[in-house]
Symmetry: D2
Subunit: 334 residues, 4 copies
């Protein structure tokens, strides 16, 4: 179950401390120019090494291993690989049998009977999101005039996320954050009612990013206390423009041509230096754990390019489906 | 794209004012006792006709058309059909070319060029959720000792949702609401990291329900302002029990054996009697629209059984996958 | 697992002696004119009641239950239902515990523990192929200038299939047959290498038809004794026309623009009146069985419209995928 | 569309003359011992370098890049990579614009507008089947007591396939062949009627292997001239054993517990040294082509391990599905 998508289909593989991680992309048309340089900006935005992020220094150079020939995509499986470099597994010896509170350690152990690679979080590592960002770079090339922009609204309530992260780090702690995504230039008619609604597809992918705990589209949670006469977006032009955008650009699961807007809540990183209680899986006793290793104090700082990536992946797939099945633009009955 | 699931797979069909709606379920094992009576309670909870809901009175009697033989499931496609009865399409003439603000009318028109069935919302109608509730009844039988319970926390901020709905109705308006789902008895180890995380699967299905605008797991949006030392759930027993449950029972996309908890924001019904501005798709002019027809003043009142259904559907599928691939319980390495 | 397809997706449901059978089709664009009359010709060709076929007389009138509005497809799930009429279940009492040799009775019993509907073959009945033929009628409308034509080459070696069937029937026996499908007007570039090759998709669907035992594309089984210099199809025109067509219009899993040609071997109907040995599932003893009920003496007679249907379904899906991903016709690099 | 399977899911990537090829496997449970040595036998059987095969000498050493930890599978995506070594792309310059008769060159060009990697067949190369063989090694470990054995019945009609291949090679020609697969120890009840029948799944995968032109199960094509009384397999024991096995171990798409038997027709390799006519894609003229490069004179010689692999892959997936949905062995109603 490591893949998602119907036509534009993305699969990821890898572990934090193995030889590398990567992504295989299906359904990318031929003839798209693609080179290492295309990936530089988004990968740099995701990169660690800045204040409040893990000091693990990865070069994160994408290796366009398959599906690119003479500078263009071939139309066949596109495989982008990232070698792991700066790994230090010693710090993880003490968590093999004492799962970190809030982390996947315990669930992974119960799921696969202790056979998972526990070093650096193994397959659960945020490291794998570099492949998602790479797939997003390709997706952005496919969605035409749509522009996807994600920003961090705050971390721990502080609009200066980095300051909040540094403060948490000094306390051997971590802090959460809130991010927002906006998509402009969206054609009306993407998405399918019910099981492939735009919100279904986007939320499916957003919750694939480790640390996501909530998502709301348009005026999301506040809508619970609103009246319909407040919330409804009145039309002001026959092109579909609405006066307000409480719906976040989506009605009935389908884009309406207005801006897509959604926000994502990111939990504080689970790996913290402060002592916490956990259980020892061998002895069965409760123990105190101080997580070692190098960790982000605020993983939300690194979310914007990842959120842009999954949004672009969702839209690339929805656009590919719409190209095959939508009648919009072909003929209309009024 | 009208289906969802890997092993336990659900497809819905139908329109509000056509002959009927229904659901086809794949992957239901043979030998499960199933009769009309099994559906009565959940369908009654979803039924309209109470204060604050639409006066459309549907009998909602499930017809177990296929896949049941002599009182047991056969293991082959299970098809449950609901005939439409109390339809009145006249009220919809005036919306054919003047899309309701907040509704799918406009997006559907743009998507399929005006060929959709506009009467009563057509395929976008909440009416189709009766099939989802029916699938949920089956799913609940498959998830063993897990119990799924959804409640409405408030409508429009009022814990007495019905009162809020009636008040809105008297104003020819509608009101939103907030619902919560809790699942107990969950085994650890359900879900897959990344693209089939428990949150991905549940949110995918929850956003398939028309009117959903937000979802958060555990201490969702508040986590954005929390520290890791507050948010992390410390283990207090080797069976995985945690002191707190900010994670909502899920770590790294995998159930950890604690209670699954999530909340869902429901927008106010878009169809309201109050005059609103819209555009006429034929003339291109802005017009004033008073929506006729019979509508819920608070669709959130009817959400709990639907939310239970999609949660049970998600868990039935995740459990089926885990049965094939999890090693938990088979062997362990410590 | 009752569905197939990526974009144009077909699901079937039903049992031979239940209330009815049907098909739900996803991915059919809006605005396609569709009425009962469109189905008449292909359903008539599949219909029983002719010499050598079962005397069961079904009206086979398609009920366009969902997804059609005012004579056009809506773009949402298309549901076509066929009520069962002329059923006589008494003849099946004696096979409940004495599986018919060559039939699915035994395998179904072992698979689902005796909970399947054994009457008339239940879900395994050829009756369900009426839904496949209906889906094929829709698919044929979507594949543009491609024309699909299936013929019966012989039954039991006799080019007059009906005569062979009648002769077998007189012996309380049945007989097999060989059918051929040819598709003209195929654009080059449909299909994907490896796991969605044209042959993979077509054979997957052809082996979904009960009684199919073999398939070969182009000069199929004879190729095993040929030299490459004989088998290779030399190009004679830059438009891709080849001198011969041993490949059957497909290279590397992709259509090359020449005629698609394949042949299908159909086994003799398993239900025959002649006494055969079987086992009694209750007593465990070997018994003699004379199959009663009404059966086709040569199911191959009814194959051509079903083969056309699955071929059109395959091509409709491959064409939908190609529309989204192929660069052909958009730009070329030479 | 580079993947196949529902639970046990296989994706391949790569090109003949790129850096390497590989396979990503989803749905492999944790705790399966796996090392390089496990792959040696099947990869050696597939290897070239013997008489009648291409002199391209690949080391074919599997790199267990992801999903294996301390000698056991982790339960997360299993990634096996093979570096390409002995490549010589110069021989392919002359086919860039003069497609080889019988090869995918032309179809690939039309599909993806000339952007494909033409060197060594690119993504269409039989080289990619090394990844399929690797996936088969894993699958064989998962299917319990089932044993899969493939043999070459003849090449060009000669039971000594190597001799036939050498003779063809001496003529700068190639030759086809016929292979057979037998599976023993199959439990009854695998497969689903219609769209996931055992034959559908196996044939889908078999036709994913380049050069396959036909498949028949049991007494396949001969059944077309048989009577039901000849073809039907009479039961001789309550355990399901039949006197004959014309059905090839499958009824109604479901395994019946008898041996699975099928045969596969393999076309002669398309790349031959003899002069053939083709067209020049630039000039539009018919030209004579002598294919250079190193090619197999009889690709059928290398089919047995590949056929075993796809058969094991199919069975691993069908078994995983059956584990979740079959009632067999749990309870029975008689």
């Amino acid at each position: 179950m490591n893949s998602f998508g119907t036509i534009f289909r993305v699969s990821i593989y890898g572990e934090s401390h193995g030889p590398g991680v990567g992504v295989v992309i299906d359904g990318c048309p031929a003839g798209i120019p693609l080179s290492h340089e295309d990936f530089a900006a988004d990968i740099e935005r995701r990169r660690a090494g800045r204040p409040g992020t893990t000091p693990r220094a990865e070069k994160d150079r994408p290796f366009l291993m398959n599906g690119v020939f003479e500078g263009f995509t071939t139309g066949f499986p596109l495989h982008i690989h990232f070698a792991n470099g700066d790994t230090d597994s010693n710090a993880y010896d003490n968590i093999r049998h004492t799962p970190r509170p809030g982390h996947a350690d315990w669930a992974a152990f119960r799921k696969h009977g202790g056979f998972h690679d526990y070093r650096g979080g193994g397959h659960f590592s945020g490291r794998l999101t570099v492949g998602i960002v790479a797939a997003g770079v390709v997706a952005k090339k496919l969605i035409g005039d749509m522009t996807v922009a994600a920003t961090l609204l705050h971390a721990g309530g502080n609009p200066d996320g980095v300051a909040a992260a540094v403060a948490a780090q000094q306390d051997r702690d971590s802090v959460g954050g809130l991010a927002e995504v906006r998509v402009n230039g969206v054609p009306a008619g993407l998405g399918e009612p019910f099981f492939y609604s735009v919100e279904s597809v986007i939320s499916h992918l957003v919750f694939s990013i480790p640390a996501t705990k909530g998502i709301e589209f348009g005026t999301g949670f506040p809508c619970a206390t609103m009246r319909g006469s407040e919330f409804n977006d009145e039309f002001i032009h026959v092109d579909g423009t609405t006066r307000t955008n409480h719906s976040g650009g989506i009605n009935g699961g389908i884009t309406n041509g207005n801006e897509i807007v959604f926000r994502v809540a990111v939990r504080p990183t689970s790996s913290i230096g402060k002592p916490q209680h956990t259980v020892n899986l061998v002895s069965g006793q409760v123990e105190e754990l101080e997580v070692r290793g190098r960790h982000d104090a605020c993983i939300a700082l690194r979310f914007p390019p990842i959120l842009e990536a999954v949004t672009a992946i969702a839209l690339a797939d929805l656009l590919a489906i719409a190209r095959s099945t939508n009648s919009a633009g072909k003929k209309e009955r009024t």
